[in-house]
Symmetry: C2
């Protein structure tokens, strides 16, 4: 076969696998938005079958041989052209995929569908014990996968899983970043806790109609640039973003009648993810050039919009009149400065997704440490709640009163996403580093935000990040966009500057 | 291979095909409830790919040979046992499926997804011309399919398509039933039109909050027996019912702020379909014993609940207080008799789904005649609107002012459903015949309805119809349940009795 025919066959196969995976993603989206209560078992069968077919597609003999043959044609000089990037990324995925059996992939898909159902039920009934059995099953399957995936590499089990979300990241690098980040954060948090100036803690916690909160969310998501012709916003119990096709990005948030931040920041965060997905090259959908570079990069987009934008003074200058208008009873007399301060309230707390920017990364470090232990066999599921609660007391000084606010709060482990959590903090670091560069490059960015104009920042990200897909890896993107290696300095400086001013430290 | 292994393999394959088809159905449900505007093309690719895979599954060599081998083991004595019924029905489907190429199945799936999108757009913009090209394409594909399907049979093209919805039905039978039905209907309608007593035409057409109409729909669907743990109710532009798994039946309706009947009867109709699906043997999902017998039988269930129940005096006795309560401003002083009469207003009109019971079948006869002509090549798509409008004037005495209220009103042709329309009238005939028997068998059925108790009628249908799946065909079910061959007498007598009394003819 000609090289071009081989290449076409390989791309066709990858695109067909994407048809199957996005079909499964659609079924999972439906499952998490409104599937009837009793439909779970069959849904698990459907999703598992589709994921199994996609896996077969990407591991079958002809596909493997074609990729191998194409790979041999890549030389050092051609390594950076789209053809070569596509082949080498697909080959990398192939290596991962061939290590896993179709049976294991199907088992994992079925267990994690049931896992999410049982997690949801356990969270509602507030009983970790109802979730234990399936969590154990998922961990066993993940360990089994990890053992297969690490074969022929230097990685340990946890790194083998991490690799799926943050290609080539190592425990050593992450440990280094996290230990550089932790002391200045702890110091900043302590100084804030003894500050005399505090925001009004009740400001965000007024009774606010859900209907109007939804209107607000749509308004903000649209304003920052999420394209509703190519996506939609729904409700679910645990916010997420999923892409069902090149023009079909679904973001999901949740609302709390007594907390403005839950729905608003949840929406901005997911819209940030969504805009990245909407900015990827459409014509390469299902191929590496049309896919996100890493989860750290993905998270940098959601966190930049949520924090560097959504918690900025300029953003609150823009949105305050809207809030006064939507909620006159609650907010007629609240000014932008009060909102801005309340949006940046720092207070050690129990729930990660509602944590402020300073304490957020401490939540991540706890999860990172615990999931490493779970995967490496140093912690039993039975002991997990106690270990969790102990760390929250030690690291954040807060006491977990019920599992719902503790170990049951996150969907990730129920979905088999071990190795995923550290990408949140990596994302925070990247976001701060990128934004510091964007601020330099864009004139009067504050003035733009305060007028509800976010287009230039979106364009900056489109050019620096989105359009590349996987044609550069995470490190290269950061280096090219900012001129620096990834560092904790930008996040620390950004937080110090903002919070020291607000709290008058 | 052992017979039992062969049988297991065949059933496994059919169930896997069902996993794929129900996944495609879920994607189509999503498409018709809230998919983003620009996502249509990729959605068409996904659905078409999944339908193609399901078709492959049900036509591949090993499946074909296994079925053939099993078929040879069925003798006359064993023909009625579940094993034999499963094999012979699957073999029947196989024969249909092998006549069609996978390519044609995929083309059809892709065209009809686009067809429905373009129909929806054309309906909104009220421009038949925007829909012409794709309709032509679909008709060509249907003709091509029909030519392949009729090979080796006595059927003509139209009958070959009809066969998919109403197995073994012939044009001759349908012509016979329709020509027996038409004269008494026309006579009854004419007598009603010159009656001096009329219901209040404004009663159903008051301004009614959509939110409360939705509450009403859920209340009624639940009361008649639709199981919301195993299903849900949503909104769409053209009501339908789709089954996404053994415990996942979705019904969809639409609401009109100025028409109580649109949402209410739409919901009852689709709930009737849904309850049939929910009553099929769960353990045989994806196999003939777990599938509906024919569309005529399916429609008999929706129409029985919509008409024999939902348009009965006893039903309105039950629901009137609820309406007075939900809509005090509009209905505080309206009594059950007024509602009952209004629910049975007979008036030739333009829209099939909102037609009364007497004129409804005239709408069907028009579609039946026109689609026969389209498929047999006796009518061009260009001439369709004129032909449609002419028939409405001749048969119903109403003038079509815009395509939206004429040829663009139904989704069916855009979805490739040619041969489907006559099953509606067959369903009406079966419904009347079944209900006349149910009334004999159930004591005080009226009293039960007037107390909101519909369980006994549902049970009667569960036993007479639902539990059988395809273990009996449509004719056998009717014969066994009613002791008679299908006849137009029951519908005519039922309509005469009810309407002559109401209109005092």
């Amino acid at each position: 076969m000609q090289k071009s025919d081989l290449f076409q066959f390989v791309c066709e196969s990858a695109k067909q696998a994407a048809l199957l995976s996005t079909a499964a993603d659609t079924l999972e989206w439906d499952e998490r938005t409104g599937m009837p209560h009793s439909a779970g078992d069959y849904r698990a069968e459907q999703v598992s079958y589709l994921r199994g077919l996609a896996h077969q597609k990407l591991t079958d003999g002809r596909y493997r041989e074609s990729l191998q043959e194409l790979l041999e044609q890549i030389s050092d000089e051609t390594a950076s052209i789209p053809f070569a990037i596509t082949i080498s990324k697909l080959h990398r995925d192939l290596q991962r995929n061939t290590k896993l059996t179709t049976q294991l992939v199907e088992q994992m898909a079925a267990s994690t569908v049931r896992g999410q159902q049982q997690w949801d039920a356990a969270r509602k009934s507030n009983r970790f014990c109802d979730f234990k059995r399936i969590l154990n099953e998922i961990i066993q399957l993940k360990r089994e996968s990890a053992e297969l995936l690490r074969q022929g590499t230097e990685k340990n089990c946890y790194e083998a899983l991490l690799d799926e979300y943050e290609p080539n990241a190592t425990i050593e690098q992450i440990d280094q970043l996290f230990s550089a980040l932790r002391p200045p954060l702890v110091d900043l948090i302590q100084r804030i806790q003894s500050a005399s100036k505090r925001p009004d803690p009740t400001l965000f916690r007024r009774n606010l109609s859900l209907e109007k909160q939804k209107q607000l969310s749509v308004h903000v998501a649209e304003a920052i640039g999420f394209d509703f012709k190519r996506g939609r916003l729904d409700e679910t119990s645990h916010p997420f973003c999923t892409t069902l096709g090149p023009n079909d990005c679904r973001i999901l948030t949740r609302y709390d009648q007594n907390n403005l931040g839950t729905g608003l920041f949840g929406t901005i965060h997911e819209a940030g993810h969504g805009m990245y997905e909407q900015g990827l090259p459409e014509e390469s959908f299902g191929l590496p050039l049309g896919s996100y570079a890493s989860l750290g990069i993905h998270e940098s987009q959601s966190r930049m919009w949520e924090n560097q934008v959504g918690r900025s003074a300029a953003f609150w200058r823009w949105i305050t009149p809207k809030l006064q208008d939507l909620f006159p009873k609650q907010y007629a007399n609240v000014g932008e400065q009060e909102f801005y301060f309340a949006a940046n309230e720092v207070e050690p707390s129990l729930i990660r997704v509602e944590a402020d920017e300073a304490t957020y990364n401490l939540h991540i470090i706890i999860r990172y440490d615990l999931e490493k232990q779970l995967i490496n066999g140093d912690l039993e599921v039975d002991d997990l709640p106690d270990a969790w609660n102990l760390r929250y007391e030690q690291d954040l000084g807060v006491k977990v009163q019920q599992d719902r606010d503790g170990v049951l709060q996150d969907v990730h482990w129920s979905a088999g996403l071990f190795g995923y959590f550290p990408t949140y903090t990596i994302g925070n670091l990247i976001a701060a580093q990128l934004f510091s560069k964007a601020e330099e490059s864009i004139d009067h960015i504050d003035k733009q935000f305060s007028r509800g104009n976010f287009q230039e920042l979106l364009n900056w990200n489109r050019i620096a990040i989105h359009r590349h897909g996987q044609s550069m890896n995470s490190d290269e993107i950061v280096r090219e966009a900012t001129g620096n290696e990834l560092s904790t300095d930008f996040l620390v400086n950004y937080l110090r500057a903002k919070l020291e001013a607000l709290y008058q430290l």
